[in-house]
Amino acid sequence: MNSFTFTQATAVEAAVQDKAAHEGAAYIGGGTNLIDLMKENVARPTHLIGLKNLGLDNIENTPDGGLRLGALATNADTAYHPEVEKRYPLLNQAILAGASPQLRNMATDGGNLMQRTRCYYFYDLATPCNKREPGSGCSAIGGYTRVHAILGTSEQCIATHPSDMCVALAALDATVRVSGPNGERTIAFEDFHRLPGNTPERDNNLEPGELITGLDLPAKGFEKNFSYLKLRDRTSYAFALVSVAATLELDGTTIKDARLALGGVAHKPWRDKAAEALLIGQPATADTFRRAAAKVLEGAKGQGTNNFKIELAKRAIVRALKQATEMNQALDATAFQNSNP
């Protein structure tokens, strides 16, 4: 673990200035991922800027009927916030499907977006990794790829984004609010995270020094028909092999609007608007769902040990859409094991 200095910032502007003043500085929210990475010597900041006193932990309604999540609100406080439970239950489910109660009490909403990949090779300094050291090679390709991507990969990197929360945020069309040396700006959620391409070392489109201050959720929360389905190697406290956020707006049995996003399959939360288009206007039937699933996985590429995820993802999409459709009907017995409390 690195040697570093620490300051507790008291204002956003001061934090941004502090970062600009220290080469190799990093912001720290809950610390659940950064400290882990520092202990592995993967992250080696020389100066840490604590954010907890910035007053960014509020969750409040916005004038346009949406909800603003402060970047420093914890994942647990967000999941259990009455407005989230009532209006954005998909987000509640996704957050609670991730990590553990302890980690959710520490991890912040902004930090959740900033999580780095769980790739074994990225975490292990004994193996080359383009994300850690650009140009050194990708050890995951040709290796053990159970947790790796099947969509949007490059020759440089096949890592996945590990978040559950972000899959729901992608489906809900959230907006990321940031502050930086050049002032404030907003980033559409789908533009926030990047695909690896030739720059796998960059996980997202934040500019140097920029700090996430909040997340805006639009008014539409799909609270009636939604499902967050997470498949993993044990029942809880494990990263997703495949996860699906599915939301529907139904008019009788016809799909009026739909959102579909996947976790555990790509370098970013994988939203597929083309597949959504195949759902909209169609009857909410297994056939429709299967067509959408096939569309999502159209360009999927297995890496060997993760080939199974292509078929698993298809089945998961169909199931999640079915669960979303049948929300108000009696749930079948499968619910107990495939959704999270």
Binding site: L125, Y144, R234, F308
Partner: protein, 746 residues
């Protein structure tokens, strides 16, 4: 009626419970002795090759760094291999930490940095510059099957499996057959407590060593031999051990490092390993197995063939009994057994809960299920038809064997008779339901143990022996046995363990502690009783004047005359009358050479039968183990509460082995890639549902005086196979490569 001081067989709560729930129980890394230095281990990134350069200049320049130990500056201690051999070392040449530039396996320790604080040592480790020259490594077992050899040397007590009859003829005689190949990857014990040693420097090479171990005497003799220290100089203490499962049977390298650094720096030193480094030593070996079975028309086995190939290191022959059980558990004339090892560039494997048997029973018990289907029989009925009433492997009768009761009581509790045999035939809503079963056999063994019983003038009994309690309940059951033997209330009894200044006891493993130490506790108390009677006879107490030891009993804090129960004397008063602060007696069950050579008269084993229900989502193929009944025949159960917990834990281990646990090696790097708790999956609370434990009545006056067989391992046997068999019953998919993860069922 039972007496107030009858404790054996009662569900006494753990006597060490309060210390554990309050956080006052101290483990090896928690002795914060004054002026402590911290050691941090640097591990090799390569699997084979040599260290070509170490540049520690920057590290040494850091204020507070005391020393950087590498092979370049660690003194050569003992010269001979045998000095590095601990009590359970397999044949070969034991690994010597920081000995030379050679790298033998990935994550091998290559340097120890000692600094004033943990934070500094860890930081310093991150900037130590080491260069390596890599050599080609071999870690893939499947590529080395042809070179596998029959181990001539193994652990002490290892016996190569013995075939009998003529399998080829048995195979031909059979009318139904099964044949299959089974495999599982390496598994790491991963006890919750990471390995650590705190060495307290007391001056003049005198050390108190707080070690994470399953045997303080094993650690002590290792330190004595390697560093040339006397027993007085190296006292090893382990009062609490945060899980072992076999990992603490051999001294791990942090012990060497902490002692070495302490001797070199003449300071107190602690070395703790990281979770990643918990993958840098012994493990359950990857094992490939082949089983072929044949049955006659009546379902009786006509031939059994069980062959296993397991990995070992380049430097030691780690052996375990994988296939031998097959020749004992079922009745069959023609049994062919084979066991081979292949050398790979990995660390030597190490006994891990039910070593050998856990692996062997996976193959055997899945094979028995397959055979039952091939023979058209219910899997339980099939096993009953091939019940072994006589140990054909040893040619000995069983001292006792209540496996039939396990089958009957387990099946009844589970509701096995309602099972419909056809795969996929049972449902719960949309979910596929599968019922499977399995079982196993484990040695009931006993080792020499010395125990001292000491009664003080306040009437408090202290019983001591240098055994361990790795969570097994040793503190509690020994206290129960001593309290009942001496007729004292349990609150007036303290059992002391985990210290080399105590009488010598075997290391804790093999499910033998209860029998080994427990019977010796009874004997020590009996000897103390004799001393008390003698002393009473010296007193002005006519009652006991002519009494022999058989004429008295010890109950409710008194010694009483059996013939006149109103006549008694308080034990405390006897000690006080002696004029000494305490009265003591010691018992040793160490055998003479002649006794050791005596052939056994009985085959002594514990058995179990386990019944498992799984529910499988037919589309997503997620598996949940919803119900388990584990019926165990293990002789006398001293404490049904702690014993039940051991079996519950075994079931969790079985589920883990069946569904999630594997150390994944990337052969390009020769390195376990999931070397952490996030990706080396073991069950969490949400994975575990109803588990029923049954201890069937099994009285055995031959196995040992207390009739104990031990329950640390037997409960694990057959669980993983039963899960696999249940999955087959649910889905019709026969998976022979464990763990059965979702991808193997899609």
């Amino acid at each position: 009626m039972s007496l107030i001081t009858d404790y054996i067989g009662k569900p006494t709560s753990r006597v060490d419970g309060p210390a554990k729930v309050l956080g006052t129980a101290k483990y090896a890394a928690e002795f914060n002795v004054p002026n402590l230095l911290y050691g941090y281990v640097v591990s090799s990134p390569i699997a084979k090759g040599k260290i070509t350069k170490i540049d520690s200049e920057k590290v040494r320049a850091l204020p507070g760094v005391q020393e950087v130990f590498t092979h370049e500056n660690v003194p050569n201690y003992a010269f001979l291999d045998r000095s590095y051999k601990d009590d359970v070392a397999p044949g070969g040449s034991p690994f010597r930490p920081l000995h030379d530039a050679e790298i033998k396996y990935s994550l091998q320790p290559v340097a120890l940095i000692v600094a004033d604080t943990f934070e500094l040592a860890r930081y310093a480790a991150s900037i130590l510059h080491i260069e390596y020259e890599e050599a080609a490594h071999e870690t893939e077992l499947t590529k080395h099957i042809d070179e596998a050899y029959e181990p001539g040397r193994g652990k002490t007590g290892y016996k190569p499996p013995k075939s009998r009859g003529n399998f080829g003829r048995g195979w031909k005689e059979g009318v139904a057959h099964m044949e299959g190949q089974f495999s599982h990857h390496a598994q790491h014990h991963n006890p919750m407590e990471m390995f650590a040693s705190t060495v307290e420097w007391l001056g003049d090479k005198k050390l108190n060593i707080y070690d994470k171990t399953q045997g303080v005497f094993n650690s002590q003799q290792y330190v004595n031999k390697v560093f040339g220290l006397s027993k007085d100089q190296a006292r090893v203490i382990s009062k609490y051990t945060g899980g072992g499962f076999g990992s603490g049977l051999r001294p791990q390298y942090q012990l060497f490092m902490a002692v070495m650094a302490s001797l070199q720096l003449e300071r107190s030193v602690r070395v703790s390993l990281t979770r990643q480094q918990m993958f840098s030593f012994g493990h359950r070996p990857e094992t490939l197995q082949h089983v072929a079975l044949a049955t006659a028309a009546d379902g009786s086995l006509t031939g059994m063939n069980h062959f296993a190939v397991a990995e070992t290191s380049q430097f030691e022959d780690f052996t375990e009994n994988v296939v031998g059980w097959t020749g004992t558990l079922y009745d069959c004339k023609n049994v062919k057994l084979g066991y081979r090892l292949a050398k790979l560039d990995v660390f030597s494997p190490l006994d891990m809960r039910a070593p050998g048997a856990a692996s062997g029973s996976i193959a055997l018990e899945i094979a028995m299920d397959e055979m039952a289907y091939a023979a058209g029989l219910d899997p339980l009925e099939f096993r009953i038809r091939n019940y072994s009433d006589f140990d054909q492997a040893q040619n000995l009768p069983y001292s006792s064997k209540a496996l039939r009761k396990c089958y009957a009581e387990g099946a009844a509790k589970f509701g096995w008779e309602q099972r419909t045999p056809e795969p996929g035939s049972m449902r719960d809503g949309n979910l596929l339901v599968g019922w499977g079963m399995g079982g196993g056999i484990w040695d009931a063994s006993k080792q020499p143990a010395v125990v001292k019983a000491s009664l003080d003038a306040d009437g408090h009994l202290t019983v001591s022996s240098g055994t361990n309690d790795i969570g097994t309940g040793t503190y509690t059951i020994m206290t129960q046995i001593a309290a009942e033997s001496m007729g004292l209330p349990i609150e007036a009894v303290t059992f002391v363990l985990g210290d080399t200044t105590l009488p010598e006891s075997p290391l804790q493993g093999g499910s033998w502690t209860a029998a080994s130490v427990g019977n010796s506790v009874v004997e020590a108390c009996n000897k103390l009783g004799e001393a008390l009677l003698k002393q009473a006879q010296k007193m002005d107490h006519a009652t006991f004047k002519d009494a022999k030891i058989d004429d008295v009993q010890f109950v409710n804090g008194q010694m009483r005359l059996r013939t006149d129960l109103t006549q008694g004397i308080v034990l405390r008063d006897i000690v006080q009358a002696s004029g000494e602060p305490k009265m003591e007696a010691e018992n040793s069950t160490v055998l003479t050479k002649l006794e050791m050579l005596k052939p056994p008269k009985y085959s002594m084993h514990a058995h179990n039968a386990v019944f498992v229900e799984v529910k499988v989502d037919p589309d997503l193929m997620t598996v949940h183990v919803t119900r388990v009944v584990n019926a165990v025949a293990a002789g006398r159960i001293i404490n049904p509460k702690t014993a039940r917990s051991q079996v519950l834990g075994s079931v969790v281990w079985g589920i883990s082995s069946a569904l999630m646990e594997e150390s994944v090696m990337d052969h390009r790097f020769g390195r376990y890639m999931n070397h952490n708790y996030a990706e080396y999956h073991v069950p969490v609370n949400a994975d575990i549902h109803d588990i029923d434990v049954i201890f069937v009545n099994e009285e055995d006056d031959k196995v040992n005086p207390l009739g104990i067989k031990g329950i640390g391992e037997v409960g694990l046997l057959g669980v993983a196979a039963a899960v696999a068999n249940a999955i087959y019953h649910a889905t019709g998919k026969r998976v022979r490569d464990l763990p059965i993860t979702i991808d193997k069922l899609l």
